[in-house]
Symmetry: D3
Subunit: 321 residues, 6 copies
């Protein structure tokens, strides 16, 4: 596999394909045009300037394109930077699909879909299974490519499906351990809880909030989708079983302050909220620790109240007798 951005050292010559993440045409104080660029791949990103950019370059080098770059890794104001020697668009015969250059879930789409199917068959209540089935027909494809969030946890292609499946697996061990839990309700709720993010977010690459994401939010968007599904399936959206399911979605952020219009009032809703937080926390911390040297602290993690986490050294964790 080709060398990736994060693998180059200070001072080393770079030659690689990468995604053009940002590209802004600017002018020097002397009036000369240049491009301020950021290139990225699954390993990370680096910025650099294309001085004396030609009009052609300014026109072609748009964010979202894949490029072939040569240059050198340097440091500018304490941050890594690439001194660009040459840059051009990747051709048809070279790697040129942007999705090749973004981080991905640790399981393949096929594995993720197989994982979901298993739980789908465990929903032995027909109303809930039909609503879940209907909504997956409509939005399911996006689930397997979207990230679980704009940044923070599971911010990678397929992250939304991977996060959902992790929660389902934790839910299965909870169901096995506590006798009174309604498994079908918990699984349906878990499966649908974040599906509204396929409407709230713009897509897997250069993810932004849509206008309806901002004004309505993924929780109420999915609640509306369940109402629509009921209309099409012939269920009354205010009948008892649908009300229980809607409550699972509406309450899964746990606290009003976190955007849930009602707090959990069902055992299964309380469980879903805890598992959602648990999986998001673990994934956020693991991702940050992977970028941290042993004996050091991660950056402050915004979604975890700005805490920093410590990565123990080998000495601290190696077993000795």
């Amino acid at each position: 596999m080709a060398k990736q951005i994060a693998q180059y050292q200070e001072g080393e010559s770079m030659q690689l394909f990468a995604l053009l993440k940002e590209a802004a045409a600017k002018t020097t104080s002397a009036g000369k045009p240049y491009l301020a660029l950021t290139i990225s791949d699954a390993s990370g990103e680096i910025s650099g300037m294309r001085w004396d950019a030609t009009p052609d370059e300014i026109k072609q080098l748009q964010a979202g394109k894949v490029v072939s770059v040569k240059g050198q890794r340097e440091t500018y104001r304490d941050r890594p930077q690439i001194k660009i020697d040459s840059i051009r668009l990747a051709t048809e015969s070279e790697p040129h699909d942007p999705l090749l250059f973004v981080p991905r879930a640790p399981e393949t789409t096929i594995q993720l879909k197989a994982g979901f199917r298993e739980f789908f068959y465990l929903i032995d209540e027909p109303v809930w299974r039909k609503i879940a089935g209907h909504l997956f027909s409509k939005h399911g494809e996006k689930l397997f490519s979207y990230p679980a969030a704009k940044s923070n946890h599971h911010a990678f292609v397929g992250g939304l499906a991977f996060h959902t499946l992790s929660i389902l697996r934790l839910a299965r061990s909870v169901v096995g351990q506590y006798p009174n839990v309604n498994a079908a309700l918990l699984y349906t709720g878990a499966m649908l809880h974040d599906l509204g993010k396929t409407i709230e977010l713009s897509g897997p690459i250069a993810t932004q909030y849509t206008v309806m994401g901002n004004l309505i939010g993924h929780i109420s968007l999915l609640d509306g989708e369940i109402v629509q599904a009921c209309d099409e399936l012939g269920f009354d959206p205010e009948s008892p079983k649908v009300v229980l399911l809607r409550h699972m979605i509406l309450s899964h952020h746990g606290l009003l302050e976190y955007g849930s219009p009602s707090r959990p009032q069902l055992l299964e809703a309380e469980i879903l909220h805890h598992l959602d937080e648990l999986d998001a926390s673990i994934m956020t911390i693991q991702t940050a620790l992977n970028k941290t040297a042993p004996g050091e602290y991660t950056d402050r993690l915004f979604s975890l109240d700005n805490r920093r986490f410590y990565r123990p050294t080998n000495e601290e964790t190696l077993k000795k007798s």
Copy 2:
């Protein structure tokens, strides 16, 4: 008009028709059956015991019935109480409609409906007007009998319509004063903002939260109703105009902590939130001050952060030159 409960003095003989608000059959320590009763009318309520209740009385005197009572107003543990001499159900030829004995809005239903109609014609955007029309066909009748809340502000028959109309009138003066406000959006939002309470609450008398009121809440219930209305009217519930309207409803509590899943992000949504709070505060305070003597403080008002309000004396407010 007949003398009402609140108008009787300590020690005075009472004779009146009233609503049986609570009626519990109990047994004395000596093993004799009795009824613990609370009777109410628009002016207030008073409790009393029916000692030595006959089996017939225990059967007939159910909460929700209208009764004819004779007795005497006394004090027991610092609270007024009626010593009941006789009590029986009101007959068909006497006042016997429970709605006669509950507090009502200061405008009649006809006046309230006329008030609404006026604003309905001011909604000059067809999508919003059709949705409003559809939802009023479906839930409008309840709007004119329901209270605006289980307790607190506007907790009287017709309170929900009266509260909504007050906001619409305040909205009209805001529209007249600030040039950039979208009047049609503000009026539609104001008109619909609390309509979900007709699903959240059980009805105008002995008002309780329904299960779906607890699990979903009036804000999300109405959002679901708008989605349903769109399906029936052929609008896309995620099209821009519907999204703006849904945002008006979803954000009208202003803060996530107060149950809105998103905070106001439109000028009109911010205005609606402020007018809702303003009208609810004024009505809560006025109701409490009406029960308070000049120079005294109201009880602590729960919905106003447990503040007490002062009713000035004549000396403090009379004009003199």
Copy 3:
């Protein structure tokens, strides 16, 4: 099995053995001595008066004794009450061990101990295993009889061990699902996290906080016990591995406001905190739902922010095709 307190109906004659939970000698306004009593068993409790109590009765009927009672179930001020006809101490030949009349964990002590042993052998780091072993030798017996809290969750005999074992089981499924978790650290932390409660609380019956429980708290008490254990085992309590373990204990309440002197800064500490909350919430809700009829709400649960939880009806949860 004999009929228990909660199984008697209004008006029914009662005859049973029970624990005397409270017993206060008082005097009527007429100057006659009586006893205000509360009796309890694993199913619940009920209060009653022993009128005209003899000096002998006043001397013998002390809280903590097992008694044989006859009487009748009545209602006084909306609460159930027993009208006591006769009451005496249980004899040696009758059930007289107070532990027979308190609620117990759903697994036997033998099962709980076997469950613990399994995890103990999974701690493959010698420093942590030795500390855990040392502390279980010292405080382990109490762990299997103490409740997990004075009230709230797991407030029954063996509750502390049952709660700890549930967390260990959830931890095992987390270890299986996320690759980077240090299993030995997580298991040791989980095993010890609430062991300080055996010092903080007075015992399994009539549980109170001890003075050192109030002034120091179970978190710092156990941290002190780990330091003592290190001294006796020859480890430096400020060496890296011990520091990691102490952090697991000190941070397990998650927030400073909840009494942890530091917030979780290790992945394993964050997981332990979440699993602790998850298990405590589930057990609190299950216990409350078991006392609630279908279609009704539990009382407000203090440890869950005063929320009430809904127990769905059969109609809402039965599967139909």
Copy 4:
């Protein structure tokens, strides 16, 4: 009307009169003197450097002066900047009054004063009217030139009077709608509520907090002014009517956290607080939306909890049938 700062495009030549808002003499690393300047007019502001500034220029170009500038609009670090070709003080025969170059209220001073007079005559309680009259004689002129705040809402010349008058107009519609409101008290309170800002702030241009503004604040400053007015008018500042008026001023921020030493305890004080918030919110949002393109969000608005507001597109708001 001459072209204003905000109307120039990237790359365009600029020639205009403007107010010198900031002017700092500095030295390049090569030791040459230059001036870092910011010029502003009612439309906005722009910064630029005067390289190789002469000693005369450094002496004359002081903040607060009006200048004639020629140059070119460029971009530096993502922000607009003017490349200055020439700059000199405006002469007596050119526009040279700084007040010509600051944003102003949408009504003229004459209109604002007429608006106030109308409400002044509606105060039919002599004590309140005399106090208001006295304070307007003393501080009124400043009211019509000061902004309502250092930044945020109504931060323009005359903003304080415009904000006050808007509240008075809203108050009139509240008085018309709710029967029990004391109009004279509400109008006097509204009229005086922010008058202390004429002492708290330094003036209409380059507005800063004064030392007494910081140490005492506009609320207590005006309370002190009322006490002084009473002394001069022969009223007792602790007599009932004055106490009611002082309470209106002291409580108008609504919450202790917002600097009111007591929370509203009069109906009229609660209303004043709500109207103050309503008008400030509307004006803040309108000002921000005017700088925002349709379909975009405003910057985060500090005084509105850092929310961003959305400006709908034409498609979203145009009426169609």
Copy 5:
């Protein structure tokens, strides 16, 4: 000295003079008049019923009078109660001054005044000393009889002066220890900080908040008094020295949430706030501990965040070698 209320034991005969703290005329369910009374002295209070009260008794036994009582100490609903055998007003020749029966500061008025005088002469800045002198001429007498609060800390006759003097003494040791403190400013601020309570509270006995105490509060009341004093002394209330002094008063609660309209911005203001809290906390805890047995906890102390404090046993504090 005569035996006081708190010194009688359960069942003991009582005979004493006491203050009639509360006296309410009521009627039994059988229609007979009786009086519900509470009597108090410096040691505490106790309630009791005067059954079959004569019209004369009902007329004479008013709250605030001193009475001679005979009866017996009993227990009713877990609270001590006096069974009244006889009760009558104290005569002129008996102890009949209500101030004899209320708790008092541990120093005499003469001692307290001498203490104040000492600090008064330490204020070597004429403006501050004159203002302090003026306000003590006007309100000083009340200072030496009023309590420092309606309940909580220093709720005894002379408590306000005693609290103020304690702060002044602590302030002196701070001045001795830190070189940059302006002693004159700190002493003047300390001396005046709570003087507004003589207007906020109704008096030393049966202390209530006055209307102006509720609507304006002691902080703003004293600020107004300083303004008045300036008018009479010929100082400008907005001149620098007066502004510093007003800031001391306005900010002494430390936080806006505690009713200070501005937070401390002077070193001396920060110190005054801390010393005020320190002295109030110590006095509140000492008072509560004095009512608590060794080895027990105080009741929850409202003004200290509902904490309970522990009174150590002799074993825990006795010195042994």
Copy 6:
């Protein structure tokens, strides 16, 4: 005494010895090596670049070394900067001890130790005195060189001892004024309260948090040290007197949110908490005011809720008659 960094004016030639606080080797965009340096002494610090740094210079000029520097004081981006003409390591015969160039407590180590000794002899309870003695033998030397915090208050050499001694002196005046305070407990608690910082922090120069400082914190670290001391002295760490002392340490931050695992529940613990806050506040404000001109405000002080403090002018504080 030689001229210090803060005493040089803009444009002045500098020649001085200083501590090299930061030294980072970097490369210009043209590929030339340079050093980014910050030098400091007790008066402050200043940054500068060493252009064209030789390999020898890059190797020798390490942070922590003392250097001899010549250059000129300039301004770069509104901050002072030194243009370095020459720089070299100080020789053995020149001032070369880093401790000479850091700010120090206003009392000498000898004075501080004498101050401590005095209080040590006032601890007349043997258990507490022996524990204090043991811990001072172990950690005392560090106490006299460490700062009291990484930044904020007392961030200078000896600051920890100076802060502790100031609290002891304030404690003595509290003991003299309130009769019920246990002096021995208060003095021992005050003496030990921050001793854990000698483990939490890395040392007197370039102070950082240690890993165990982050994961355990100085409060729990010292609690552990007390337990260890008990083991070595033969005391039971859970015996009553030790529990009281441990509570003093554990609760001294006053609030759970500030890191204390339990809130003060002893009078002495509440006093210690207040004195700790008082001394830290005074020292923080004094330090900031010393850097502020009369009539100006300090920077925002983070540890004091971001407040700014005002330094009065002479006019405001000078006495005149």
